[in-house]
Amino acid sequence: MRATTTTLLESSPLTVRELARAVGAEDQWVMRLVEVEILHVDSPTEPPERWHFRSADLQRALAARRLERDFGANLDTAALILDLQSELRRLRALMEAHGLA
């Protein structure tokens, strides 16, 4: 079997429905992620049908799903953990880039 269509999410972003399917969730769950600012959309006031999500959003949605399931975290707690995690990873990458790690 051969792949026919290959797209990078950066050039072909996901809709709410597609992101929900990719993480095994409902559309409402994705909307809740936007509400608690785990996901950021360009214009939150626009109808959800017009929202678009890229790789970083898929990564965060998957991580939120795991925190919710594995630790029973509510989405506000998950949002805080994800922010701390991304700051930690940013600082570690910076240290590594400067040969300090």
Partner: protein, 324 residues
């Protein structure tokens, strides 16, 4: 392939309750989470406990796994190794995704897990024609692909082999090996996802197949480190080059070379920027050179004499600020 003991992976007894399993998992997940763990094999341990939790917290998967474990304990394999589950091992079980168990959770699971539950960890819907026909789009599937920095810079075509579960004509699940051609776009960065439309799990009742999402990982490079769109490289320079300034030739990630001016009085750790020589893209990254002053070895009479002459000519106390 070794038989995996999921109970010992979580450190729980065979008759552990769901609550015991949840508690054991949470404790170990905190210990081995790659962001906080100091253990050398944290990634592998995390994968093992995720996999064990996935099976033991799902009633149907756990029952099927227990049956398989009993078979192996009765001498199911002569060499103590584990090749494939015996035919009919999963009779009477159907695996379903529990709430919140996305298909993404299985991207990193072991070959052992795939051999039992398929690479998506769930299956069996409609088996044996027992269920009423239904229509459902196939689930999306996740996997990861590791590429070299060179492939990320130039783009590439790679073949990817995946083991996946499919449903045969009799409605029974079986494993198939699939080979996919994957086009890696130039400028792809770690953590980005490539989507292969229609390469997820097959749909039911004429509905389309799901998609396959590949998370891009970039293998560590001998010279360059990646930070977002930017690349970093350590550039060794001599004390003379740092003090007096110099033109030095450095390799670029795309395979060429470029002349770089080291400014007069350059210091250790100073960062030089080569604009837009990082990862390509709509906003190209930069290549940063981190200066590292390398001392010439004082291992000959001439070298020792030169150092002594420098000390006489340039009295210099690098510890002055210490008051020493």
């Amino acid at each position: 392939m070794d038989f995996k003991d999921y109970y010992s992976a979580l450190g729980v007894a065979r008759d552990a309750s769901d609550d015991d399993i949840r508690k054991a998992y949470r404790k170990l997940a905190r210990k081995y989470h790659p962001d906080v763990s100091k253990e050398a094999d944290a990634d592998a341990k995390m994968r093992d406990i995720n996999e064990a939790r996935d099976v033991l917290q799902d009633k149907e998967k756990r029952a099927a796994y227990d049956q398989l474990a009993d078979h192996v304990a009765r001498g199911g394999s002569p060499d103590g190794g584990f090749r494939q589950p015996p035919p009919g091992w999963d009779e009477g079980f159907e695996f379903h995704r529990g709430p919140g168990q996305g298909p993404a959770d299985h991207a990193d699971f072991s070959e052992f897990f795939s051999s039992i539950f398929g690479s998506r960890g769930g299956a069996g819907a409609g088996r044996g024609g027992q269920r009423a026909p239904y229509r459902e789009r196939g689930e999306d599937h996740h996997a990861a692909i590791e590429i070299s920095l060179e492939d990320a810079l130039h783009g590439a075509e790679r073949q990817l082999s995946l083991r996946a579960q499919e449903i045969d004509d009799q409605g029974r699940p079986h494993l198939v090996n699939r080979t996919l051609d994957v086009k890696i776009p130039a400028g792809v960065r770690p953590g980005q996802y490539i989507r292969l439309a229609g390469q997820g799990l097959p749909g039911h009742g004429g509905e389309p197949a799901g998609d396959l999402y590949l998370e891009v990982r970039i293998a560590p490079h001998r010279l360059y480190r990646i930070e977002g769109h930017d690349l970093y490289m350590t550039l060794p320079v001599t004390p003379t080059e740092a003090a007096l300034g110099a033109q030095v030739t450095v390799p670029t990630p795309t395979g060429g070379h470029v002349d770089v001016t080291v400014p007069k009085g350059a210091r250790n750790g100073m960062k030089l920027r080569l604009k837009e020589r990082g990862l390509p893209g709509k906003t190209p990254g930069h290549l940063y050179l981190l200066l590292e002053i390398a001392l010439p070895p004082a291992n000959t009479d001439a070298a020792r004499a030169a150092y002594e002459q420098l000390a006489k000519a340039v009295p210099f106390n690098p510890r002055q600020h210490l008051g020493a």
